[in-house]
Each structure stands twice: as C-alpha cells, then as structure tokens.
C-alpha cells in the first residue's frame, strides 16, 4: 500500500509546522566535504623484474641513488603482488625499519645517527609499524632541536 511509509510518521503537524520555519534560515555558504583519495593516489609504487608493490607515500625514509629506478614513475607496468611476496623476492635491496607511532606522525624524531646507519646499508629503507607499512612525517627525519646553551 502506498501509504505505508506515510503511516510511519508520528510527528504532530504542529511540530512539523513549527520546524518548517527553519527553511527560512536556509542559506548558501562556502562548503566542501573532505575528499577521499584513492589508494594509488596515496601510494608509492615499487617495481622489480615485472612485479610491483604499493607502499604509503612517505614510507620510504632512505632512497639510495643507485636504487631510484625501483620507484615507478608514470604508469607502472607489471603484476601487482602482495607485499609479503614482493619483499621475499627483493629482500636484497629492501630494509624494513620499525618506527613508533609518535615517530611516524612526527611527534618524535628518528635520530640522525640512526638515519646515518640506515643510509650505510645502501638499501631502500621502508618504515613499518608492527607488520604494517607506514608513512613517516618529514618532521621525524629532521635533526633534533638542540637546546640553546646560555652564553657566558
């Protein structure tokens, strides 16, 4: 019956009419909803020997010059494989580095000493938190702020 949905309405007409006045308050305004990005838009694509994998943008914290060709630019070609499979096939040039949540969001830094030792590996260093791949805020890679010593 067509009136079925109407009968569900239990609001008094007085209330309806009172609230109807809110239409007069309508106005146009500047407004935009938060846009959701696609997965590829937030990813860096790694490629090697016809296989590709996705990591979050910002997850690569060390990229040696001689391995820059492992980053796909433009349209990536190859078969997308799971991260586990990609890592096991390319472990010779990938190093996974655990970070804390505070480091990932830039609340705490990765020490310059740690970064230096990571660079010496000559591997692409990718941040992880637990078993997840994580982006790292650029703030976490900046040198620690040193306290100013009072001049004598």
């Amino acid at each position: 019956m067509k009136f079925a949905s109407l009968t569900a309405l239990t609001v008094s007409f007085a209330a309806i009419l009172a609230s109807y006045s809110s239409l007069h308050a309508e106005s146009e305004r500047g407004f935009s909803k938060r846009e959701k990005k696609g997965l590829l838009e937030t990813s860096t694509i790694l490629q090697s020997r016809g296989k590709i994998a996705l990591v979050p943008q910002g997850a690569i914290i060390v990229l040696p010059k001689n391995l820059q060709n492992k980053i796909a630019t433009g349209k990536a070609k190859g078969q997308l494989v799971s991260w586990k499979k990609f890592l096991s096939a390319n472990g010779s040039w990938i190093h996974m580095y655990p970070v804390t949540f505070d480091q990932a969001i830039g609340k705490k830094t990765i020490t310059q000493e740690q970064l230096k030792s990571l660079r010496q590996l000559n591997k692409i260093v990718i941040a992880r938190r637990g078993s997840n791949l994580v982006s790292v805020s650029p703030k976490a890679l900046e040198p620690e702020e040193k306290e100013d010593k009072p001049s004598q």
Binding site: V11, P56, S137
Partner: protein, 323 residues
C-alpha cells in the same frame, strides 16, 4: 590518544578472487584541521575474514578503507568498505519519509512534501574540546546545482522532523520540469574539508502533464468522435481514469477506461478513447474527464472537455426545382 576497541567488518567480496590484491588503508587525521595530509598506514596480506577486532589509537579521527586492486591493471582499484572512528565527534542519524511507496530510496513528487527526521548526539561543550568545530553540525541539502545550509545544530536533539518542499531546495518554478535527487547530510560545521556524519537521498519526480484532444467544446455532436489521451510522467503506481458524466448530473460518472502506470514514471501516448456514444445515451452537455487516481494524495484533474450531444439534426433549408 584515545584507545578505542572496535570490530571492523570489512567485506571481501572481490578480494577472494586470486587476481586481486587487498589493502586496508588506515588514515590518521591528527589535527583534524582543513587541508591536513593524513598519516597513512597500510595493512597488507589480509586474510579473507569476516571481521577483525583491533585496538585503535585515535588522536582525532582514523579512517579505515578496504581496497582491492586488479593484479594486472592498477587502474582497476575498487574501494569496498570504509569505517571512520572519531575521538570527539557527534553521532548523527538521518532518515527521510516521503509519501511514495516504501522503498530503499524514498521518492516523492516535485510539488509534494517530504519529511526529514534527524538525531544528533554527542555534541561537546566548546570548553571541553580542543577543536571547537565539533561543537556544532550543519544540516545541508545538495542537488546537482544547488547546495543549502538548512540548519545549524548546537545542542543534542533526538528525532526532530522537518517538512520540506522539493522545489525551494532544487530551484525551478515549474513542478512538471523539476526532477532529480536531493542529498541531505549532517556535516561537521566547517567550510572546507568537512566530515560527513549522516546522509540520505530523496528522489524527486516531476509532476505529470496530460491532455485530452479530439473533441471541440464549441461543437455539437450527433456522433461523438474518438478522443485521444496523452500523459507524461505519470506517478509510479498511479491510474489515469477516463470517464464521462452528464453535466445535469455530475455524480453519474461513467468510466470509459483505466490506464495503469508501472512502478516507474510512465508516459502514455495517443491512447484512443473510442465509442463514446455507447455511454452517452441522452442529449445535452457532457464532460469528458481524465483524472489521476491511486496516488498517495487526493485525486487530481489531468484535463477535461465539455461538449454538446444532440440526438436529432435540424436542417433548415429549401428545396426548389427549376424547369
């Protein structure tokens, strides 16, 4: 950081096929401020499970998105499910009741009202939160060409119902030409990058336009000719009833035919109304009517035409012969 226990129920419809790779993207919005680039975390190598219970650290807002991507074509990326967890944010519900048949998507006609019922809870006093944007939300309507802020809600409220007419929300002054969809949302009270807390669409159908033709009201008919009926945008499930009545007794309605619409907008073209004389059994003025019935509203006139039926033709003239 607020620790929230939640169960993510993520469908894995397409992901069961071996040619797809799964990802769950965890997006942490730390400040919640407009333009913020979130911090991303990818869960990879996900097993096909119906649900995963996790302990989540949420600073402001965390969005979980499940994607699958075609192994051989990165452009084939499918977002399958999404869940948002807030630390401090209102909860909102929104439903629309229209006069149309109860379906998953409510609908009504451009000249008829519908009712929006909404609930907003968990609005936090401004002094209690760092981000004052969660102190109020806005109810908005949006069509393809018009967006309106209908109400700013500062206090929790439960099941408030407001009556709306479609045309002021959609624009346009002719109900026979207004159609489309109105999306009602309850959003964060921010001008950019606002989060949406609840959403519901209502479909708006144009009002019908119809006519009777073939009978001239200025004519006197010994034999009433066939009439033709046309109508566009008949309301789903409605009936066009064609009948005739003598003007000296309007309650003597004599139904000629009923034309049924299907469950969508229906157009009837050149429906012939024949053999009127079988029903018109006396001389005088008669009215042929097309009426829309079986709608959620009162019966409505589509078109009508009055005419005069005569039973004897009086011929005035002379016959003369000439030799």
């Amino acid at each position: 950081m607020k620790i929230i226990y939640t169960t993510l129920l993520l469908s894995t419809i397409a992901s069961s096929a071996s040619e797809y790779v799964n990802y769950i993207r965890e997006s942490h919005f730390i400040t919640g401020k407009p333009g913020e680039i979130p911090h991303y975390e990818y869960h990879t190598d996900i097993q096909n499970v119906d649900g995963a219970k996790g302990k989540l650290g949420v600073l402001n807002k965390t969005v979980y998105d499940l994607f699958v991507i075609d192994q051989n074509d990165l452009s084939k990326e499918y977002p399958l499910d999404s869940k948002t967890v807030y630390t401090h944010a209102p909860t909102a519900e929104l439903s629309i009741i229209s006069d149309g048949p109860a379906t998953s998507e409510p609908f009504t006609r451009a000249d008829k009202p519908f009712y929006v019922t909404y609930t907003v809870q968990n609005l936090t006093p401004i002094s209690d939160i760092a981000d004052p944007r969660f102190n109020s939300v806005v109810l908005m309507s949006e069509t393809s060409n018009k967006r309106l802020t209908l109400s700013t809600i500062d206090d929790d409220l439960k099941a408030k119902t407001v009556r709306y007419m479609p045309m002021p929300l959609m624009g346009g002054s002719d109900a026979t030409k207004v159609s489309g969809s109105i999306n009602f949302t309850i959003n964060e009270n921010a001008e950019i990058d606002a989060d949406e807390f609840a959403s519901q669409d209502v479909k708006i159908l144009p009002k019908h336009v119809g006519s009777l033709s073939g009978i001239d009201s200025s004519e006197r008919y010994f034999k009433v000719p066939d009439a033709t009926f046309n109508i566009s945008n008949m309301y789903p499930g409605s009936t066009a009833r064609i009948y005739v009545y003598p003007n000296n007794n309007p309650s003597d309605e004599r139904t000629i035919k009923n034309i049924l619409a299907n469950q969508e907008l229906t157009d009837i073209k050149d429906s012939v109304i024949a053999n009127l004389d079988e029903l018109i059994d006396e001389k005088g003025v008669w009215t042929l009517v097309a009426q829309l019935t079986e709608t959620p509203w009162e019966d409505e006139m589509i078109d009508q035409v009055s005419f005069t039926k005569v039973t004897n033709l009086k011929v005035r003239g002379n016959i003369s012969t000439q030799k």
